[in-house]
């Protein structure tokens, strides 16, 4: 699968999830690729099926909190760090599901339980995007292979 196609699928998947669950838009991508900052919150999960690999997302604590508040319909002040991290795990799960159906509409995938392990920055074998949102940036990293 050409990386350029996967790039577009990542943007579509993130946009679908954020627009329907958080009522927020993806405004575009950041041309200057960079990895997550040291203080950013992250979530990662593995998937296995017709394709196997790993997806990670990362964003600043304030961006995550804003997204979590929109998702849960709560005031930002009511949300603690734990809730933000839990939300980020669920967000990674939904983005991964939305992405995998774009890879293979009929494929059945097993997804691991997301964890808040740190995301890596751009590196060989990974397709990374930094997406511009209403309220900050979202880093998405994907490593994908095809099962032999």
């Amino acid at each position: 699968m050409p990386a350029i196609e996967v790039d577009g699928m990542i943007t579509e998947a993130v946009a679908e999830v954020l627009e329907s669950m958080c009522f927020m838009e993806v405004l575009g991508d950041i041309p200057e690729m960079h990895g997550p900052d040291a203080d950013w919150m992250s979530a990662r999960l593995y998937f296995d099926g017709p394709h196997s690999g790993e997806l990670g997302i990362s964003a600043s604590p304030s961006t995550v909190k804003t997204l979590a508040a929109a998702f849960l319909g709560e005031d930002m002040a009511q949300l603690d760090t734990h809730q933000s991290l839990e939300f980020l795990c669920e967000l990674s799960n939904m983005i991964c599901g939305s992405l995998l159906v774009r890879f293979n509409q009929n494929g059945v995938y097993q997804l691991s339980h997301p964890t808040n392990a740190p995301c890596y920055g751009p590196q060989p074998g990974w397709i990374c995007r930094v997406l511009r949102l209403d309220n900050g940036e979202l880093f998405v990293g994907l490593c994908v292979g095809i099962r032999a």
Partner: protein
């Protein structure tokens, strides 16, 4: 008539989100209980009667497919309608869940009105009026 609901999802965030969505549907919701996996759900069903179960598939300990099998094997709780709410939207998974007895299937991400429409159809057979 108020409907009692059991939400089964390993994500506390998603359980909380679904609770909020249930309020937004405009349906009359009675008691709303939740479980983090299929085992916990079966345990709750021993002591609580619910009118509908909303379950995820991918969960630790007991996943949604196994939960559906256990429900089907029990004459009492086997009659409770189940709606699957999952990120997995492959045709094969949908087919398997419907074979196991799911009444409907909502894929994440979803809009509140989507869940409202599906629940109204399953619970009352009536078109969804919205909130």
């Amino acid at each position: 008539m108020a409907f009692n609901v059991l939400i089964v999802d390993d994500s506390p965030t998603m359980r909380k989100f679904i609770r909020k969505v249930l309020i937004l549907t405009g349906l009359e919701i009675g008691e709303c209980i939740d479980a983090g996996d299929g085992c916990e759900a079966l345990s709750l069903l021993k002591a609580n009667w619910v009118d509908i179960i909303l379950t995820d598939i991918n969960m630790p300990t007991m996943d949604g497919e196994e939960l559906m099998r256990c429900l089907a094997a029990d004459l009492l709780v086997g009659s409770i309608p189940v709606i699957v709410i999952s990120t997995d939207r492959s045709q094969e998974r949908l087919r398997r869940m419907f074979e196991l007895g799911a009444k409907d299937y909502v894929t994440k991400p979803f809009l509140p009105e989507t869940l409202g429409r599906v629940m109204a159809k399953v619970l009352t057979g009536a078109p969804y009026a919205g909130n």
